[in-house]
């Protein structure tokens, strides 16, 4: 549940690099690459995340079986089980309904990734715009948005999620919506704080003097300069959202049964664990673990790299 905020210890002081420093594309990519290689771990993380992304994209080609095919005669087969003809039946075993774990895992990458990115994209996008608007316009708008944020913060997220999913019913988009709404306050608060600092800067004054509209100033001038901390937080939040999905699955909420997700696989494994079917929990658990750790490594690196004030404070770990 990622209702809390991702740590950003240097707050509330600004730590945004000057615009010109970030906008030299060639050198930026080069610097990024060399910093990443130097830190080593982010490379591994990127590699793993790419692998998962490939699984997600090519799931129909990669999955050995239909992930929803129920085969009760093959139920709870352990990994590397062979059929009577001596052919490999299932690589990572089958679940309580005889569905192929590997196939579900591969398809699950789609949803876990999509839900993670979409929820953070939605929540982060909405939160940033609202925070920016609040910070830039101030006054009543600011009050209204910040009171909304207070209400959201006083609302236990999981309760909110339960209520919303009860009303909306299960569904991937509903889940994205709910998890996204759970996130926006974090972004709004940070975006607002950053905007308050930026709007007093000279370059904003200059653009304003040139007669730019308020919206143009907000979106074109200020937004690029407040994105850094938000992007860093987003990378951590994707990980949090993947875990939230698992918890909601445990409560029987979330996506429909036909849509395999790692969280739901893990949650449904619980009745089989005492029976010794370890593979039902181990593989989705490992998938979640590797993805979340990779995202965190990447987030750490991004913070260190994008944020000169913190650069050099970690080895990526």
């Amino acid at each position: 549940m990622s209702a809390g905020k991702e740590p950003n210890p240097a707050k509330p002081k600004s730590r945004v690099p000057p615009l010109d420093q970030m906008h030299a594309p060639q050198s930026f990519i080069q610097r990024a690459t060399s910093s990443m290689v130097k830190a080593r771990y982010p490379v591994v993380a990127i590699f793993f995340l790419t692998l998962i992304a490939l699984c997600a994209v090519f799931a129909p080609q990669l999955a050995p079986k239909d992930p929803n095919r129920v085969e009760i005669f093959l139920r709870l087969n352990p990994p590397l089980s062979y059929n009577e003809q001596g052919q490999l039946e299932s690589v990572l075993g089958t679940d309580a309904a005889g569905r192929d774990v590997l196939s579900r895992l591969v398809y699950g990458a789609r949803i876990s990734f999509f839900v993670g990115l979409a929820a953070v994209g939605f929540g982060g996008g909405a939160g940033t715009i609202l925070g920016l608007t609040a910070g830039y316009l101030g006054g009543r708008v600011d009050d209204l948005i910040m009171r909304l944020a207070d209400i959201q913060l006083a609302y236990p997220f999981i309760l909110f999620a339960i209520m919303m999913l009860t009303i909306l019913g299960e569904g991937v988009l509903n889940l994205v919506l709910v998890l996204g709404i759970g996130q926006w306050v974090t972004y709004a608060r940070i975006a607002r704080a950053e905007t308050l600092v930026q709007r007093e800067r000279e370059y904003v004054e200059a653009v304003r003097a040139l007669g730019a509209t308020e919206w143009r100033i907000m979106l074109r001038t200020i937004m690029p300069n407040i994105l850094t901390p938000l992007i860093v937080i987003a990378s951590f939040n994707v990980a949090g959202v993947i875990l939230s999905e698992a918890s909601l699955s445990f409560l029987g909420l979330g996506v429909p049964e036909r849509v395999p997700t790692w969280g739901a696989m893990l949650a449904n494994s619980r009745t089989e664990l005492l029976g010794g079917s370890w593979w039902l929990a181990a593989f989705p658990g490992l998938a979640i673990m590797f993805t979340v750790v990779s995202l965190n490594i990447l987030g750490d690196w991004m913070r260190d790299f994008l944020d000169p004030r913190l650069r050099g404070s970690g080895q990526g770990l």
Partner: protein, 548 residues
Amino acid sequence: MNRKVPFMLSLLLIIVLGLVPLMSSAQTVPTPDDDTLVIAINGEPGSMDPAQVGGSTGGSNFRIMMHTFATLYELGQASGAIDPYLAHSFTVSEDGTEWTFHMHEGLTCDDGEALTAEDAAYSFNRMADPANGFTGNSAGFVVASTGFVEARADSELDVTIVARKPQNRAMRLGLYSEVLVHCKDSYEAMSFEEAARNVVGSGPYSLAEWVPGEYMSLKAVEGFGLRPQGFENLVWRFIPEPSTAVAEVITGNVDIYKEFPASQAEAIRNSGMAEARFFPGTTRTYIGFNLNPDAPFRVENPDDVGAQAIMRTDVRVALQYAIDTDAICENLLLTTCERATSLVNPSNADHPTLEPYPYDPAKAEELLDAAGYPRGDDGVRFSLEMPARRLTGAMAPEVVLATAQMLTDIGVQTEAIFQESGDWVAALITHDLGPLYFGRTGGSEWSAQYDMADIPGHEAGCGEAETNYTNWDNDFWCTGWDTLPSLTGDPEAERELEIAMLEEFYNDPPWIMLFAGPRTEAVSNRINYESRADYFITGYSATLKDDM
């Protein structure tokens, strides 16, 4: 400040630890011992008012209240038996509407008040009075199913219960046996709020302690002679997560846990602490066809082929052949079960002419082709949604998924949709659930008509009758149901009509008939306890084994 904190903390810890030996009588989580039987249940009681059993409000209170309250007769341990309890006998009036129960002498309630016919009459009238707003098994089910009018005390020990119509005797006796008897004076003195939390019982056990969310502890009532009291204390622990409950069984903290997930049987046996029992149950498990023409899925999608297709009898018959219940029971429920031929439990259903539909997918496909629903280019004839709940045992998700797969295999693409229990029930009782739904309904071993009561007759509107969740509107059935009461004097004719009705059900099926759901129960090795085929757990009958 930083240095002082750990110091203060350790000082506090030392003080606390120092005080511990001085303390006494700490509370603990109750565990089994020679005097205490611990039973785990997943739900927890809402109200403990004896007029509010089962349903949303009662939660899982019925199992517990069978211990704190007695009934006139009791649904017995042995299959099909209904045993005398507070009453030793009963007589039925000529027209079959008035039943007079003759109660034992010298009965009392927990508070010492004498329990007489007046109290029994009060119990029936109180739960049935609409002004009291009770729901659940007594106020809803029993009142409606018996056509209850009123109850009156004829004398100190004779209570008469009046119904609108005569009814099959076994059925009526069974239904009356579900009404919990409580004392008038004590319950009249209590507000509804007080009655929800306090128990002045009439059964073998009284409420000793209720820790909401944790457990309820019952104590044997001294001098209660009508039933055994194997243990001095009965503790009901509320453990929502089945795996946790099984872990408690394995570690010897729970003696009885009904409906454990079948795949955990091995772990239970290997622990050496408990037996993992499998046995036939009475809960009828089925796939319902919602035939309600006004159901939202039909109204909103008038062109939905599947929703229209199942309105046809030949399609519904065809689908019967698609389900391999033997394979489901053997592979998923790890036991065997008998496929149902109707809505009646096999133990009641002695219908000589009916053979269960066999598993024959080729025949199913043939019939669907003949019905005018050939496979399309994608292999699909039509699609259906099947709302279900995530439950354990015979309703486990894998069972639901397996049936959906079997239907899909014959070209009827079926998607199982798991819903929150409350939402599922809410749609069910308004006849809006479907087009298919995976359901279960409690059954009996003592009366075919009890099981048949799910689909009452014309008087209640037949198709629209409240519990006819499939909205099945079959004239023969409904007329038959209305005729049955008049045949109570002639058991042979009654039986004949029952069989004819069940045949109609078989030939024009509103359900895909599956099985009476097999049950599982983990029972500690230290006790003697006979498992029940129904929902109940009769903790009072458990005893400690001699060698323990």
